[in-house]
């Protein structure tokens, strides 16, 4: 029994940043990298199932990314993943979620897990597409925005809740193997202990080449993608009228706004 967890090393912008010379991305010097927040929850969900199971379960963290993505895979190993797999080739640079999904699907075929978890979306590019696109390449049943999951290892189906808009939930049963995209709040992700961080540092990260997966350069990058970045820019967005002064003066102005509102609505 095996659960594959797709994880992404996301990037946040430094307070000050510059757009790259070609105008199509941010200069990488200004990016702060970390494990995607959603993926922390999907990894925890897999580890929880493993810990509750009588039969052995392998939790495998998989990431499509360059060598620096080893950092998030080590984090996954420290938090309870049994193995970590990273796929990279320079041709993957510039891939959109569809091209990344094609690579992930090839890994899933090789690993043959019972479930694939992915985050609902990434905190940086927020496509909310990679998990479900992977399911399409595999032709597996799939569901998005899972906020509660009941799965007994070996069972033919899983039962979960989807978090819809406006505080509504849906309870759904799905045939396995399946792809589920996991929502924030489904569990409380653990912190890795110092000991497990040390142990994870000694574990191998399996590096897989595109050719090992039967894929070529044409399957990834811009050619393998369903969209192409034309231009990235800082938008002229509206900005709040700033209330200046110290906390006391700011609070006094805020109090006036509140009293005015109450006067109006009374």
């Amino acid at each position: 029994m095996k659960i594959l967890v797709a994880v992404k090393q996301v990037a946040a912008l430094d307070e000050d940043f510059e757009i790259r010379d070609d105008g199509r991305d941010v200069d990488p010097d200004f990016l702060i990298r970390d494990l995607n927040e959603w993926d922390d929850f999907s990894l925890e969900e897999a580890v929880k199932i493993k810990e509750a199971s009588a039969e052995p379960i392998d939790v495998v963290a998989v990431s499509v990314g360059p060598e620096e993505a080893d950092e998030i895979l080590r984090k996954c190993l420290a938090k309870g993943a049994d193995r970590a797999v990273r796929i990279w080739d320079d041709a993957i640079e510039g891939s959109d979620p569809i091209a990344v999904a094609r690579v992930l699907a090839a890994v899933v075929k090789r690993e043959a897990p019972d479930l694939l978890f992915a985050g609902v979306q990434s905190s940086d590019q927020s496509f909310a597409s990679t998990g479900i696109a992977t399911a399409a390449f595999l032709d597996w049943p799939h569901a998005a925005v899972v906020s509660q999951l009941t799965f007994t290892p070996g069972a033919a189906t899983a039962v979960f809740r989807r978090e819809l808009e406006g505080g509504l939930l849906q309870e759904v049963e799905i045939q396995c193997p399946a792809v589920l995209t996991i929502q924030l709040g489904i569990n409380t992700p653990r912190y890795a202990s110092l000991r497990s961080i040390k142990q994870a540092a000694a574990k191998p990260i399996e590096v897989v080449a595109l050719s090992d997966l039967g894929l070529g350069a044409a399957d990834v990058g811009e050619g393998g993608s369903a969209s192409r970045v034309r231009r990235m820019f800082v938008p002229d967005k509206g900005h709040a009228q700033l209330i200046e002064g110290g906390a006391a003066a700011q609070a006094a102005r805020l109090a006036a706004i509140i009293r005015e509102f109450k006067g109006d609505s009374a």
Binding site: S126, G167, Q170, E171, V172, A226, A240, Q250, I257
Partner: protein, 323 residues
Amino acid sequence: MSGILVIAEQRRGELRPQSLELVSAAQPLRRPGEVVSVVVLGKAPDRHVSALSVAGVDEIITVEAAIAEFDPDTFETALGALIAQRRPDVVLVPHSVDSFGYAAALAVKLRLGFATDVFDIRRIDGELVATRGGYGQKVSVEVDFPGRSTVLLALRGNSFKAPEQSGAPRITVFEAPPVAARSYLREFIELPAADDVDMTGAEFILTIGRGIGEEANVAQFRELADAIGATLGCSRPIADAGWLPKSRQVGQSGKTASACKLYIAMGVSGAIQHLAGMKHVSTIVAVNSDAGASIFGVAKYGIVGDIFEVAAELRRQFAGDAA
């Protein structure tokens, strides 16, 4: 390749409001003679025909499905067959929890150009260009779709205004191929109110976010909310951590604060889902120590400062008022 397909979304017999926003988004994309068709899929889809008969819709395509509610296999099979038959140049869907479940799969299966969370679309030299956010909405990203004859775009809610005038579209029935669904909807569950708060009806909300730091700090903001006469709400991380019940979460996936007129957000950075759920509020005041927080982009007033200091001073301002 001609025509624009708009995929309407319905749930429990109600058309979702984003469906009509897509109709407006489609208009500037029309090329001469090009038709805008709205697709409505479900059990007895005819019931939505009158609501969808708005200005700018030339045709409504009804697709009868065996399953009343959204199901990924049903949607992908029916829409896949329709797109293959019509060969439209643009397909518009809402960027919603349901489309998260099928749009990317449709793009893969039909080899469509594809982008999500799009808030602006235009044609530049005849080529479709979509704009979306990047790096947590700090930048805008223009994408195009070289070599793709059909492009599927998922549009962010509240980015386009629904048409107000009615229209007289023709009605077409599309027979979808049979499908064996691999998942099964058991039931809908309403979020139970853990305390007797009504966020939906609240006109004045004070919301707390990650900036409050720890659970022990919730109490002082609860007292502040009482003192100023606001309903206490929270952003997702606070509800997920269990510091406040889920029924107090506002934003897209929490309760819709539809009656809210004055909204004070303290320590809320402003994830897109949160902002999208509050966009209708006339007066948003954001208090945050990070001058670069996204919420300052939608707020009317901004206070860059320590939320604890501002909260304490505000409390003092209302100290003489009866609770």
